[in-house]
């Protein structure tokens, strides 16, 4: 069975991914808020630096990111999104897991492939995933505040057009969590047996010649 799989790197890869996914998701679930903490810190730094007059607090509340806006619930006439820890300002709870599942997905892809300097590559790619996650949280936060406040936020200095926020939100929620892990994995595994056996010479020749020298 082992030698049969050794001769079929694609089959071995897919079976290993399917075997690793449940474990990766369980670990991701158990890690709870810790997995999103670096991205929430980065989002906080971006939002508070970018829109200091509109965003007054960004932090973690369990696995949700709490974004407290400078706008009051009374002024906007909408108190439905007031978060528990916000007093007079409107707070928005953003489920970080709707974006951070990219991390267990990437972990399973990475773990199923023989990659040189595996731990170092994994660490760098985890860093990239945290940055992408932070951008997604910023886009989602802006979208949420924009839906409630509309023109008040759009008129703020440095605020991008509503269409750009919408596209950023759609990209970061619909494409990025599943596509970025695959792109990172494909780049990390470009010299692996699996991809070398699948890619034509025109896509690998430069990489091969570099490695050979």
């Amino acid at each position: 069975m082992t030698s049969w799989l050794e001769q079929r790197p694609a089959t071995r890869f897919l079976l290993t991914v399917l075997a690793l996914l449940p474990t990766c998701f369980v670990i991701w679930h158990l890690l709870g808020s810790a997995i999103a903490a670096p991205s929430v810190m980065l989002s906080s730094w971006i939002l508070l630096g970018w829109l200091p007059g509109q965003v007054i607090e960004v932090g973690l509340q369990d696995t949700d990111m709490l974004l407290v806006s400078a706008f009051s619930a009374e002024a906007s006439g909408n108190s439905s999104q007031v978060a528990p820890s916000a007093r007079e300002n409107i707070g928005y709870l953003i489920d970080t897991r709707t974006l951070s599942y990219s991390i267990p997905f990437y972990t399973a892809l990475h773990g199923a492939t023989r990659i040189q300097s595996s731990l170092s590559v994994y660490s760098w790619n985890l860093l990239v995933l945290w940055v992408v996650l932070a951008v997604g949280l910023v886009a989602t936060g802006l979208k949420d505040v924009l839906i409630t406040e509309g023109n008040v936020l759009l008129n703020a200095r440095g605020m991008p057009p509503a269409d750009l926020v919408a596209v950023a939100y759609q990209t970061s929620s619909l494409l990025a969590p599943t596509l970025v892990p695959v792109i990172l994995w494909a780049y990390a595994a470009r010299r692996s047996d699996l991809l070398r056996s699948l890619l034509p010479g025109s896509l690998t020749s430069k990489e091969v010649s570099k490695e050979d020298t």
């Binding site: 596209v167 759609q170 599943t178 034509p200």
Partner: protein
């Protein structure tokens, strides 16, 4: 490799932005999503005659449970990723066309399986439904795209 990356990212961006345009949503994406809901409901009705569909909503007449198929749930984004990858890959156009048709079907078969499973999960355990819907199924759909793409690369390699 640079050519592949440029074509892939360019096509991905163009198709994704095109999909978000209101006229495209009205003329293509929404009717397609309705058709997907009808197909899923027809499949579900084989096992349970109380299943109904109206537009993008599938409901159960007995217990009132309903799901609405929204953007991101219709497999269109997954198809866009596959089409971009296949077009950017160096292979014959007939092979590319076949891969796109077969890949689109593979994604939609998986997506109908997803909708059916979520419809039953939601009636049984709403927390499990939420978890599976938001976190697990998107990964499995992308894995489906990856499997199709790997099969396409193997086919292209063997016939080159």
């Amino acid at each position: 490799m640079a050519r592949f990356v440029v074509i892939f990212l360019g096509l991905l961006t163009a198709l994704f932005v095109l999909e978000l345009l209101e006229p495209v949503q009205q003329a293509v994406v929404q009717p397609f999503t309705g058709l997907l809901a009808d197909t899923s409901a027809t499949f579900l009705a084989l096992f349970d005659e109380q299943v109904r569909s109206a537009g993008r909503v599938i409901s159960h007449a007995g217990n009132g449970f309903a799901v609405s198929i929204e953007a991101g749930c219709n497999g269109v984004e997954a198809a866009i990723v596959l089409i971009s990858g296949v077009v950017a890959f160096p292979a014959g156009w007939k092979q590319k066309a076949a891969a796109i048709v077969f890949g689109f079907l593979a994604i939609q078969v998986m997506n109908i399986l997803r909708i059916v499973s979520l419809f039953y999960l939601g009636q049984w355990n709403i927390e499990l439904f939420r978890y599976t819907h938001l976190y697990l199924w998107p990964v499995l759909i992308m894995l489906d795209v990856l499997v199709v793409f790997i099969c396409f690369m193997r086919w292209a390699q063997r016939t080159a």
